[in-house]
Structures are given as structure tokens and as C-alpha cells.
Homo-oligomer: 342 residues x 2
Amino acid sequence: MKLSELGEFGLINLIRTISARYEKPGRTPWQGVLVGIGDDAAAWQGNNRIQLATTDTLVQDIHFDLDIINWEELGWKALAVNLSDIAAMGGIPKYALLSLALPSELDVEDISKFTNSMMHLAREFGVVIIGGDVAAAPNVVITVTIIGCSKGKAILKRSTASSGEQIAVTGQLGLSAAGLEMFKGKTIPDPEIRNIMRRAHLQPLPRVKEGQILIEQGVKTAIDISDGLTADLAHICESSEVNAKIKIEQVPVHPVVTSNFSNYQELALSGGEDYELIFTADEATIARTKQCLNCPVTVIGDITEKKLPTRVTIVDGKGNIIPYKKGGWEHFENGVPEVKFA
Amino acid sequence: MKLSELGEFGLINLIRTISARYEKPGRTPWQGVLVGIGDDAAAWQGNNRIQLATTDTLVQDIHFDLDIINWEELGWKALAVNLSDIAAMGGIPKYALLSLALPSELDVEDISKFTNSMMHLAREFGVVIIGGDVAAAPNVVITVTIIGCSKGKAILKRSTASSGEQIAVTGQLGLSAAGLEMFKGKTIPDPEIRNIMRRAHLQPLPRVKEGQILIEQGVKTAIDISDGLTADLAHICESSEVNAKIKIEQVPVHPVVTSNFSNYQELALSGGEDYELIFTADEATIARTKQCLNCPVTVIGDITEKKLPTRVTIVDGKGNIIPYKKGGWEHFENGVPEVKFA
């Protein structure tokens, strides 16, 4: 079988399955592991706090296009997407390792811009880049690893959602995917709007502080939106063995997207790379959390019992199910996000 | 300036310089950092032990050739080279993150072989693969990150060598580089010898236990041989601001290399990827360490005061200096290890 048939999540499952074969219950190395393969970050028990580690690779022409993104933005984004994974665990990012595979003909000035921008963002979030690796390569591949820890005794996981909980999301969605549409040729006349969209797509701001506040308010379940709202919510559902129902009219679409894109709902549901947080909790906890967060928080639906094979159901204002084809970014299977509304 | 002019170590220095600009003395995030950019692994103070993290990227057609290495060997090697960095700090490897950038047309069976082999080696060394990332890419890029800790209160560093110390090396050198020569076309008739050379180059065994014993015996300074004996010893000299003198006749060349390669000294001095440990200490400490290690330990020279700009001087049995051109693997500058003896 080709990797293209197995798909990204099939591959992750394969690695997880093989890994489990080498696990012996009670064996020392596994004892402290709290969260292994399949969440935003791995977690293990430290002396006082829970330790976290996450890694993300950006590959030229797959994750980014050097004709679109500049080196400052690339340095920012490579770190930001990893910070977002720590945010989705409610953790504190502390140390980062930077692995750079680079073509020899690159301009050193560009690498300087890249590094300065990454260090700038690192400092903003109290992160120190303590090591890494550099190597020659035919195309640019950037891997950032972040090591962090929990703020208190708890972390946010994907596997703890339960039936009856509300589903909420921070911020407004679709702007990053709209930015990608713009880069692909969609005309946006207003330079200020263009700039907002560019920034959303190329310099996302991870919700690190917000993740920590979720924990403080008793939220247990969260994920960040990288693959897309429905795809990432489906990850929570798979891990927690529940289903989810989203009311499409409640999904907070960024006004710039609503104004400029007829497919704004698609962009918000499946565009991905919003780096907002999806979280689930009981109504009172979500109401309390909303009070504490300095960003929009919108309840978009509910966690339900696992009845249907479809993990995430989308309904309109009248409760009618809106069919949609698989949404969200997936590596290997589809080269571009593939979402079709019936 | 092009990256090819700056070179691998110039790039590392550039990143380190930029990083230092963002460091504010006494700022919390930096307080716990014991070893930053420029050693085998980064180190920071945990509650009891020193925490370690290291990352290494293997790029197809730069670090490995899929016409030579099979997928089991690749899975092994990608983890082994990182374990060797933890060995060079005298640490205990604990957790690993695996980031895979892979072409969609790859066979899933090959990825299974890769993963099984890596998990097997991980289990041998008590390491759990707790997370990672997968992505589509035009060529195979593998990044492994290992997180570990010190066994006691100390770690091995590059920066602690001092004048008057002896330089010692574990094992026998040159076999990995000899293996590479074989893959490039050198005829080795004996299949058993071929197999020994293949294994040395493609499935190195990191000296993790040996690194821990060095610490226990009071050794403070070590590095693993990845770039090559002289190049890696030069890294110790740069970090410690000392020079080194190697007696070429004392360098332990693997007998298979001596028997089959006329350039055996060159292979042992500059071939690289031996994944043995170079360490420095006073004579008594080295003698004691030799007693405790279950592998050959050979004293090959001395650390001297920094007098000459040449970090590492090689002398023959009569004490005459043997001139050599820059040795050891360096990314960006030279595509292949470049060593010339005058």
C-alpha cells in the first residue's frame, strides 16, 4: 500500500500501533507518560509539574511557498505553530530546539531575518532557543521542538470530552484560509484588509495565555485549530469516543471573511490554520471561562453520545443536517484542503 | 553572502549570536539554562537532575541514500545518532519525538520496517517515543528529538577541557567511513567484512552507558564523533579555548580498516560517524575510567595551551607535525568529507 492510500492519520495510527507493541505495562520508561502519540503535545509527569513536548515540521512547497511568505514570517510561523500546540495543552512553553535543513545557495541575510523573527516571538512568550541542528538539503525543512510544562497540576487533553458538554471556540475563524485564497489569486482591493489576511495566515498568534486560563477555570478538553474546525473537533471526538454537533449559524466567522468570500462558511469550518482553541466543558464552566478570557468565546454546539459513525454533524438553524465531504487539511491523501458542501 | 560561504559552523554561530541579542541577563527563561546552542545537547536545571534535549535531522541524499540504506537501518540510525548526543553528555535518554516528512508514493511496509526498527532500538535504551509529527514532502526528512536527564548531578560538556589533560577515545575508529568508501565502490571481497562495515556505517551503537560511566569516574569533558575525530576534537578545543595534540600512531584504527584501506589513517582521523566518545581528563582519571569501561579506551594525545591558531595538531612518532587540510564533515561548505594529507 502506498502512503497516499494510508493518509496522514492512518500513518499516525500505524506508528502508534507499532509503538504499543514495544510497550510493556509497568515498564519503567512508560510509567511517567501521561499523554503519548496523538495529542497536541506529549506529556509526562515531572517532579512537581507535568512536562510537555511537541514538534512540528514545515516543508517548503508543502507548508509554505517562498514566493508568498517572507523569511521573517517563516521564522515567526515555524515557532508559532508549535507554541499553539503547547497552548492547546494549557501549558507554559519554556525551551525550543530549532532544526534547519537548508539549500546551500540561500542568502545568509534571509536566515538572519528568519532567526531574528523567531527569537523575537520566542522572547514574547518567554521561550529560550537552547539548541538544534543545521544541515544542507535540497529544499527548506524547518523542525521546531518546544519543551514546556503545566502551570499547575493539570493539562488540557483531547480525550476527556463527554456527552452533554458544550463546544466553544476562541476568536473568529476563516481568516487564515481566506489569506491563502488571496495568495492563490482572489482579488482583495483594500490593502489594509489584504494585510490583515496576510498576517492571519503567515503570522498567527498562538493562544498560550488563553490555554492556561482554560485550565484555571476547570476546562479539561481542548485542541488548537490547525487542520480546520471540523477536522480538529473530530480529533477530540475520536480521542474521547463521543460525537459532536455544530450549529453552523453560531460558528464565529471573521467579518472580513464574511464580507469578501461567498464560501465563508467553508473557510471557517474547514480552512484550518486559525490557531484558535476549540474546547469543551459544561455550560457553567464555559460561561465562567468566557468572563476570564480577553478574546471572543463562542459556543458553537454540543458533545453528544457516540451514535453515528460521523464524528461531527453540522446543522442549520432549523436543525437540518448539512452534509459535507471530509474537511480539513490532511497530508498525503489530498494535496489541498478538500471540502465540498452538498 | 551565500550559506555555502558561511558554512555549517558559521551558521550555528550566527544563530547563537542572534539568540544572545535576545538574552537579558537574569531574565527568568534563561536562568535555568546550563548549556545552550553549541554542545551535543542542550541542558537545563530540573528539580533534582539536569534535563537534556537534543535534535538531529537526516535528509535524503545528504545524510543517507535509499539505494544503500534499508528502512530498518534508517529507523535505527535516525534514533542512534541522537542517542549518541545524549551519550556525549553522559545522560540518560528518556523520551523521543519523531518528525517524518515523507513522499506520498512511499510504501507503507517500508515505514512499518522503519518504525519497528526505531522502536526496537528505543526499547533497548529505555526510551519511549511519545509524540511527533508527520507531513508530506518531496524527499524523506527525519528529525528525532530526544529528551533525557543526567544520572547524577553532573553532565559532560565540550567547554571544560584544560591544558595538561590527556585525550582519550573509546572503541576503534574509521570503520563507518570505510563502510561509506565500500558503498562508493571500493571492493571488499569477504562478505563478513562487508557486513561489519555496513553495520558500522548504518547501524552505529551509541555509547550511552559508557558516557554515564565517564561521569561517574569524574570526567567532565566529552563529545561524540559524528563529524570526525579531528573535527570533533576541534569543537572541544574551540569551546574550551585550548589546543590539542594527537599522536597519529596512537589513534586506534579498526583492524578491518587497516587491512583493507591504504588511507586508513585518514578514515580514522576524519571519516566521521564513528559515534565513539572523545573525552579529556587528567591521567589518573583516564586510567580509572579505562578500568571501568567494557570497551577499548586509548589515550591519543594531550590538551595544550592555546598557542597556535590550529586547534588540533597531529604529530608522528618522532614528534614531527603532519600537515592536513581541514577534516571532517561540514554541511554547506563541502559536499563530501574533504581531507588531504600533505
